[in-house]
Structure formats: C-alpha cells, structure tokens
C-alpha cells in the first residue's frame, strides 16, 4: 500500500483492529466518567504530584484534568468538552452515551454486521429521537415573570449532582435569583454580568448573593474611608497617573531644567483631571452627607490619590474591565472615558460601600444599589479546591437556569426521557425501518438506557431489576424516572426533577455523530508513535 512505500515506519492498523481500538477507547473513557453521573455519583479527588488537590464531580473538569493520549479518546473528549462549552452541562452523559453506542455496536459487529448498516440505523434513530424529544419536552411560559418554581427545580437537579443536598438547595435560590437579576427583556442573558467572587476563609463555608458588586481590591490610600453610606459612584476609564511614558512620544530633553519643566507640565495635566472629578464631587455632595466613590479602570498614582483623599473621595484603581460594565448595570450612570463634560448623570448610586480585609487581600463591597442588573455570587471556603468545586457548580447552575429561560421548555429527568424514548424506538420506529438498519435502531435504543442504568448502578441498585421495573411502569402508560433512594419508579414531575432541553438535544445530536465516525474508520495510520502502547 502506498503509505508503506512512502514511510516504512508508519504504523497501520487494519480495519478490525482499528475498530476495536476505537471501541476500547470509548469504553475506557466511559468507565472513567460513569461513576460521576447523578446525585449518587462518586466525587473524585485528584492529588497531583506536588500534593495539589482538585476536587470534582464534573465530567468536563475531570476530562480536562486527565492526561489523555489515545487519539480516539481525545476525539470523544473534545466533543464532550464542546458540549459543555455550548450548553454548559452534559459532558458525562455525552461520554457515556458514546461509549454505550460503541459497546452495543460491538455486539453486532462481532456477529459480522457491517458498521455502515449500524450507522444508517443510528441516523434514523437519532432523527426519530429528536422528534420524540419535541413531543416529550414540557413547554414552560417564560414571559416577563418566569415561573421561579420550575427554574428552581432545574437548577436544583443540576446542583444536586455536584454538591450535597443542603448546599445544593442553598445555591439553588442564589443562582435563580442571580439570573433573574441580570435578565433584561428582549435580550439574551449574559452570564458574565454575574460576578463570581471567592474568599478563602479558614472556618467558613458559605455562599451568598450580593445585589451589587464585590471587587477584589480596595483603595490604596491610608486616609480613605473604609466604609461609606449613600455613595455616588463614578465609573471611569481615565488615566490618573503621571504618564511621561507615552510610549511613542519621541522627545528628548536638552538639559535638566527643561526636563523638570516637562515633568511639571505633565503632572499638571493629571492634576487637572483629578480636579475635574473633585469639582463634580463638590457639585453633587456639597452640604449633604453623601459620599463619592471613583472606580477607575486605569491607574491612579499616589499624588492623585492624595488629592482625592483630601476631598474625602474613595478611589479604586485598575478595576477589571468587565467590572466597568457590571458597575454601570448595578449602580446606574455610565462609564466615562474622559473627565471632560462630567455631569451628575454619569454617576451611579450605591447605598453602602465598604472594605473587607483578609491578610493582604482586600475586597470592596458595593451594595444596596437600586434596581440592579448585575450581581455577585460570593463564595467562601476553607481552601482552594473546595472553592473551585463550588464555583464550577455555581457556573453549571447558572447555565441551567439560563438554558431553561432560553429554551422555554424543560425535559423530565431521572432517566424518564431515556426510558420513554427507548420504548418509542423499539415499539414504533423499528417497525417502519426496512432491513437490517433495524438493528442499528435497536442498538441506539438500548444505548439510551445507559443513563438510567448508570444512575441505578451508582445508587447501588440492581440495574436489571430497575430497568424491568421502569419499562413495565412506562408501558402502563406513565412517565417514570428512577428514584435514587429506593430504585422504584417515580414520577419526575412530582419530584421536581427536570433537565435542560438544549442539553438533552445536544447529547442526542452529537453522540451518534462521533460514534458513527469512529465505527466507519477503515484504517488508522500513524507515523511515529506506537499506538498499541498502553495509555
């Protein structure tokens, strides 16, 4: 074959070996992630070579932590991670679904079936399942006042798979309220407008929603107040430091006096800018007990800080770029890029601004704002890995709420959709398919059951019993999911277990695509590294 001629070192796996390599890789990855699934799954603690700890129950995080070498596994992992990027959840489900599709296919292929036939069946089954999903989903009315109960149920379902119940329930309210806070009618929800801030605190595990903003820095002047009420907020992006460093100003001094004069002149320009701000402060605050806070994206040097402090102004420098936008949404006013034409309309408002110090870390809270469209979720935890895990969970919770609002529908969870879809495929779709592609449909249908099966397995239940009970209850005309506690069929609607529609759709969509690609591989060619090495 031509490649061998071109590169005698190239390694070639023939068709069946290639297929089995792919199947094994998919199964291997499935095995790793399987135990993550559901509220009874296993949390993974990864301890690195230097003792660094990572705590995760999230398939996405776990995949990223793993040093995957096998090319097939990388392909699956990429798909699963992309799943998370687009819909925010479902990484574990995607991986185990692909693994199960491969596993089911293996049975048929070992009996001599051509992968092409299976793939055709997959395609039919996929389309049918997606159609079924449209019928199965529960539409919800979002409108101006979304039903918070249903949002909470979705958030709770996600969060309970990442955190223990009490903690998950506490976070449920927080993430729902956070999304509702930043939501604007007629606009896509921008989750970046929820700031997630953390504090390392030895004895404290706590998470709360701050209606307003928490900044991770404080003022840099000893005389500035640490706490102020009734504050005007000026959000600005103006350099208040003496910039002789205009990078491209090719200017050279011919003598020391000239240099001094230059310095003085440039310093004066900065002072002018500070004075403009002070003027505005006097205009709005004079004769009242109101305070004035400047939050600047650029630097503020000590002389400028001095001037501001003398006037009782609190000033923060080098604020995050994203906080400029958040501040305006939280406090009102507008972000100014120049101190010319400052008017009181530019200013925002906060009832309370105060500083909190932990060692060298300073936090500034901007609270009691009117009608906020941006907020902060503040996570306290005893160590980095705990904080990181809660943070991941919060992100997933936020995504789940956002998805629900944008999908305007949810899907009943606890494996109920998978059972229903499987029965639909086997009982109705299969009949309409000609020839051996039927078997592809069947393989696909059985693969769907991996979700309830894994949920049962993770709960320590007998998978066969559970599946029989579920199928039975379903065929009696109910929609049933699996109770994690008893293994009995339950009604997910009653229990408040709902998944995101878009996540489910994405899994059904991408899983078979990858599985088909892996099944249709004719040859694996690799020049250089040995593929058969254990990975």
């Amino acid at each position: 074959m031509s490649l061998r001629v071109l590169n005698p070192n190239a390694e070639v796996l023939n068709k069946s070996a290639a297929l089995h390599m792919n199947i094994n890789a998919a199964k291997g990855l499935q095995d790793v992630l399987k135990s993550n699934l559901g509220p009874k799954g296993t949390i993974k603690m990864l301890v690195g070579g230097a003792g660094d700890i990572k705590l995760t129950k999230d398939g996405n995080t776990l995949l990223k932590e793993m040093q995957i070498q096998n090319p097939t596994a990388i392909m699956i992992a990429r798909t699963a991670v992309a799943q998370d990027d687009t819909s925010g959840d479902g990484t574990t489900s995607t991986v185990i679904f692909i693994g199960e599709l491969m596993k089911q296919s293996e049975r048929y292929i070992d009996e001599g079936m051509h992968p092409r036939v299976l793939v055709d069946g997959f395609e039919i089954a996929k389309r049918a399942t997606l159609q079924f999903l449209e019928k199965f989903k529960t539409p919800i009315v979002v409108g101006d006042e979304p039903d918070t109960e249903i949002l909470k149920m979705v958030a709770r379902t996600t969060l309970r798979t990442k955190l223990y119940e009490a903690l998950a329930d506490q976070l449920t309210d927080i993430v729902v309220n956070a999304v509702l806070c930043i939501r604007k009618p007629e606009e896509a929800i921008d989750l970046f407008m929820v700031e997630i801030m953390h504090m390392r605190h030895k004895f404290d595990v706590d998470t709360r929603l701050v209606e307003g903003l928490v900044l991770d820095h404080g003022s840099r002047h000893p005389d500035m107040k640490r706490r102020a009420e009734n504050c005007y907020i000026l959000t600005s992006n103006v350099s208040l430091e003496y910039d002789k460093s205009e990078v491209n100003a090719g200017f050279f001094y011919s003598n020391a006096e000239q240099r001094e004069a230059m310095v003085a002149a440039e310093r004066r320009q900065v002072d002018e800018r500070v004075k403009k701000i002070i003027e505005l402060k006097n205009k709005v605050c004079a004769g009242t007990d109101k305070n004035f806070v400047v939050i600047n994206q650029k630097g503020i040097d000590p002389p400028s800080l001095d001037l501001l402090a003398r006037e009782g102004i609190i000033a923060l420098r080098r604020a995050k770029r994203r906080n400029m936008e958040r501040l305006v949404l939280a406090c009102g006013g507008e972000a100014v890029n120049s101190v010319e034409n400052l008017t009181p309309d530019c200013l925002g408002w906060a009832g309370l601004v105060y500083e909190h110090v932990l060692g060298e870390e300073k936090y500034t809270f901007v609270e009691n704002v009117k009608n906020p469209h941006s907020c902060t979720i503040l996570i306290k935890g005893p160590n980095d890995h705990t904080i990181a895990q809660i943070k991941d969970a919060v992100r997933d919770g936020l995504r789940a709420v956002k998805n629900t609002i944008e999908d305007e529908s949810v899907v009943m969870g606890a494996g109920s959709f998978e059972v229903a879809a499987r029965q639909y495929l086997v009982n109705e779709v299969k009949k309409t398919v000609q020839g051996r592609a039927q078997l592809g449909v069947e393989a696909f249908a059985d693969a769907l059951l991996v979700v309830p099966k894994t949920l049962a397995e993770n709960s320590g239940l007998d998978t066969q019993d559970v599946l029989i009970a579920l199928k039975g209850a379903h065929d009696r005309g109910n929609i049933v999911g699996l109770s994690q506690h008893t293994g009995e069929p339950i009604d997910p609607q009653m229990e408040g277990i709902f998944d995101n529609y878009s996540v489910k759709r994405q899994i059904i969509n991408s899983g078979p695509v990858i599985a088909s690609q892996l099944l249709l591989v004719d040859e694996v060619i690799r020049a250089g590294r040995n593929m058969r090495k254990p990975t």
Binding site: Q69, R200, D243, S245, V247, D301, G359, E360, P382
Partner: protein
C-alpha cells in the same frame, strides 16, 4: 521607585526566569548577611522594583517576585503552584465539605524533592526551630551541586525562591505532548484565550493594581513552540489594557529546540512558525530582543564557559545572567538627574531604554543582546577595549562585523575589576569605556552606559559552567587551574558582567530570513504551505499584513534592500 512586572511564558522561559530570580534572591540574602562582602551591602539597587511586599492571612510578612509565570500543567515538578508561603493550614484532604456521597481519590505518584529542595526546606525548618543555632544539615553542598548537574527536569528543581500563589499559572487540559507542542498552530488550537486568558489577565492585574507607578513589563517568552501563540494572545491583551506601559520582550529559545528537521514539511512548518511568531510577538511590544543561539556551547559568547547544549539548565543560566545585567539600570536608585552615586550610575526606566533604542532614528525595535561573561579586568594599557571586544552576541542570525554608524546601544557593566585587583569604581569604568569608544574606528551613534559595582552573585543552584580560567571572583586567570574542566558555585562566588542591547543593522539577517520565509510560503499564490497555514487559522490577508510590517522593519534598517526579497 517605578515598578516592573515580569511575565514568563513557556518552559524554557521559566528556566531562564528561575535563574534570574535565584540571582535576585541571592542578592537579597547577601545584602542582609552580616558577614557578607561589602560590595553586596551597598548595592544601591532597589529590589522593590521587582519584588512586592505582602502579608499572609496569619499576618506573616512576605516578599515575593512581581511575576506571572505561564507553563504546562505538571511542569512544576515537586513544587505546588500555590507555593508554600501562604499555605498555613495543613489541609487534611479527607474532609470534603461539599459532598456527602462516596469519594474516589486518585493519587499521582508524588514527585520526590531533589537534594537541593530538601536542603532548602530543612534549612527553613531549622530556622524555625532553633533560630541562629543552625547546625549545617546533613546534606552537603557538594552533593547538591552534583545532583543538580546530573538531574534537572523541571525549572523548579533548582529554584530557591518563594513565589506568590498568584504567580504560577498552569495551562490546563491541552491533551498535547510537550514534544508536539512545537509550532504556532498547535498552540493556537489547543489553547483558547477566551477560556483561560481571563484567568491569566486577572493574575497580571493583581500585580499591576498594587503598583503605584508601573514603569513597564518585562516579558520572557519561549518562542520556539506553541507557547508563542499563548504569549501572542497574552501580549495582545496587555497592549490593549495597559496601552501606555512599555513592554520589553525577550524571546528565548533553548539550543535543544533546534532539532534537525527530517522532511521538507517540517522545515517549512518551522520556518513559518519562526516568521509568524516573530511578526506577531513583535507587533505587541516596544522592544524585541531575540535570545538563544543554535549552539551556545560553540559560540564566542561561551569562550570562558563549558556549556552542555542539551541541558536547558546550563543555557538558561547564561541568558538569565545577561537579562539580569540588562535590567540593572531599571532599579538603580537615581540620585537626581545629574549626580551619580559612586556605586551605581546610569539609571534608566524601561521607557527610557525603549525610546533610546527603538524610538529615534530608524525606529528599529529588534535589538541584539551581547554579553561578556565574565567581563574582563580593566587593564591600564588596553583600556576598555578588551571589554568591548569581549562582548559577544546571544542573539542568533546576526551579521558579525557589521559597520553601522547609526547604531544605538545601551550597555550595563557591573562588578568589573581594575588591574590592581580592586573593583573598579563607577566613574573609572565610565571613563575607561568612553575612552575605548573613542578609540574604535566604527562608533555607534549613541551609547548609554550604566555601571554598578555589585557583580553577579553565583548562587549554589548555579550550574558548573565556568571554564578553568575563571577565578573565585570571576577574574580571568592567566594560567588555567589544573585538574578541573569546569567550575561552579562552590569555586566561583561572583562574576563581573557586561551586557549590551544593540540596535544595529547587524540584525538584518534575522529579520530578512523571517520575511523571506513568510513571503515564500505564506503569501505566494498556490504555495504548498497554504493548507498548513489555514489549519493554523491564518488567512491570506493577515499574512500579507505581517509581511508588510516585516518589510517595513527591513526597509528601515537597509533602505537599499527594496524589492530584493520580492524577487525570490
């Protein structure tokens, strides 16, 4: 005082940085040592320019580099990314407060600390236990040096500096072999700035926010592989966010990155990588200094050194020493604009240096790094000429005997001896060197000289790379010390250094090669490399823009070169 923030991107950059910070740490230690050499006591170098003071939650004061380092996950060896300073509580990993269900623990085989790191932590323990009364640990310096010589895998293996928890950033989840992470495309593909960039930006912001008046950024970037894509995105965001703050960029590469390319495809890919990486990195900085010879051991710069090119531990030490010297003027305490102290002279800010070298005349922003390590003794007869002659480039692909009347230079000389065996005073140095320049036939248009008395200290963790002509204080001996081929930190305590940044047309071959390759493979219609470039995510237009900016650079240095590159 104007602060400088350092950024290191890439494994080799971190090797260089590790040596660099070891020098600083050694200087701090020597200044505080009551029995130390007087020359280190009055350095008149302000460490606060590079370091920050902080405090842990327990109120313990800390002093750590103002540094953001970006590397591969797992590239820190036995050192934790959080460092040790801020880890007060011994975490009991067993209590997981977020999950009540079952737990599966996966342990990576713990990395063993090498002798050097063991001795460091032992020393710290001893200081805690019985203060002054430190009986020297069982680990002997000799063994430590041997251990480092034979076995350095990670840059942390020889680092004695405490880093701030925000300093060490590890790129997660790229699923790429380090060996395969060797070109711009793969870096761009496996690392998405939109996902991880914000974290890195935040780390940098943490250090910048503390600065009362930042003078600039000092980037050390490994540009031989995928990290240059990471650095490119990082620099772009820095240029955007801190538009008035100058960036001084050293692109470093280790000799081992110059492996032979087997086939044409690899060669083309390498050539394009070099061109694109250069075009992109240089567009976001104010001064670009390429560092890294294809074979350092055989270069003239290593005349008095014994380098093993295969060991990044060796080469990075030389580059770090040069970077240290170049950076000295940034933290000299200026005694007013005209008067100089007798310890230091020629203070500069990053911005001054950038403007001097790249801001006037030809506006050439690619500078050559020359070094004399160790710098020779100032002899009365030869004046400073021996010193000028001993400066040799660490920048690859430069013309050797370029005569350039428009050259601009900035030179730092420190710790040099005069013929009597004493350290030359700063004013003496200045006189000698300006006299030497007078004597040259081809003089640069401008040369700024910075001088200091304090030599480069050689910490224990420094590799044994000095030849047998190098004395205890770095003097060059007339007769070789018999019986040894290389000398290290046990025999040599400090080194006089001279280093120079040179903006000269000698750098033309470096730029021209990149331009030619870009034009030949990148922008020519129907080039065989087009699919490769597309897979790297570069469109024709973008490449044409790059080509244009490179030709501008060439044109500035050599107005006669017009169109010559178009013809091939």
């Amino acid at each position: 005082m104007r602060e400088l923030v350092t950024v290191q991107v890439g494994e080799f950059a971190n090797f260089v940085g590790s040596h660099f910070w070891n020098f600083q740490d050694e200087l701090i230690g020597l200044a505080a040592d009551p029995l130390g050499d007087a020359v280190f006591k009055n350095q008149h170098l302000n460490m606060d320019v590079l370091y920050r003071s902080g405090e842990t939650q327990q109120g313990v004061l800390t002093y750590t580099p103002r540094l953001v380092s970006v590397g591969f996950k797992g590239g820190l060896g036995s050192v934790s990314a959080r460092g040790t300073l801020y880890n007060d509580d011994v975490d009991t990993p067993s209590d997981i407060v977020t999950w009540r269900g079952s737990v599966a623990t996966h342990h990576t085989e713990p990395r063993k600390k090498n002798l050097f790191l063991q001795s460091l932590s032992e020393e710290e323990q001893e200081n805690l236990v019985d203060g002054e009364n430190s009986s020297r640990g069982e680990i002997e310096d000799k063994d430590i040096v041997k251990c480092l010589e034979n076995d350095v895998t990670f840059w942390t293996d020889f680092s004695k500096v405490h880093y701030h928890p925000q300093s060490l950033y590890q790129l997660a989840g790229s699923w790429v072999d380090a060996q395969e992470f060797d070109n711009y495309g793969i870096g761009k593909e496996s690392f998405s700035w939109s996902l991880q960039g914000e974290d890195i930006d935040e780390r940098l912001r943490f250090f910048v926010e503390e600065c009362d008046h930042i003078q600039g950024f000092q980037f050390i970037v490994e540009d031989s592989g995928g990290f240059s894509a990471v650095a490119g995105d990082f620099l772009e965001s820095v240029a955007d966010e801190y538009s008035n703050t100058p960036v001084l960029l050293y692109s470093v590469r280790s000799p081992s990155s110059n492996v032979l390319r087997e086939n044409k495809r690899q060669i083309v890919s390498r050539d394009l990588h070099d061109a694109i990486s250069f075009a992109r990195l240089s567009s976001f900085c104010q001064l670009y200094v390429p560092v890294g010879l294809p074979s350092l051991s055989r270069s003239k710069a290593a005349t008095h050194l014994c380098i093993d090119d295969q060991k990044p531990y060796h080469c990075s030490a030389v580059y770090a020493a040069a970077l240290h010297s170049i950076g000295l003027p940034f933290r000299m305490e200026a005694q007013g604009p005209t008067t100089d102290s007798c310890y230091v002279s020629g203070a500069l800010h990053v911005n001054d240096m950038v403007r001097m070298l790249a801001g006037q005349g030809r506006q050439n922003m690619v500078a050559i790094l020359d070094v004399a390590m160790p710098a020779p003794t100032l002899l009365e007869k030869h004046l400073g000429q021996s010193l000028l002659g001993s400066l040799q480039p660490l920048t690859p692909e430069v013309k050797e005997d370029a005569e350039d009347l428009l050259a601009l230079e900035s030179m730092t000389v420190h710790g040099v001896f005069e013929s009597g065996g004493d350290r030359a005073s700063v004013s003496e140095l200045k006189d000698q060197i300006s006299a030497a320049y007078e004597g040259e036939t081809v003089r640069p248009m401008l040369c700024h000289l910075s001088a200091a008395q304090c030599p480069l200290p050689v910490p224990l963790s420094f590799p044994s790379i000095f030849g047998n002509l190098v004395g205890q204080h770095g003097q060059l001996l007339a007769t070789p010390i018999s019986g040894v081929s290389s000398r290290g930190s046990l025999d040599v305590y400090s080194i006089p250094m001279a280093a120079r940044l040179r903006s000269s047309n000698a750098v033309l071959p470096f730029i021209e090669r990149r331009l030619t390759n870009l034009l030949r493979h990148g922008t020519v219609q129907g080039s065989s490399a087009t699919p490769l470039l597309r897979s790297w995510g570069f469109g024709r237009e973008e490449l044409e823009d790059m080509g244009e900016s490179l030709s501008k650079m060439v044109l500035a240095l050599n107005p006669h070169s017009l169109t010559s590159s178009d013809s091939d």
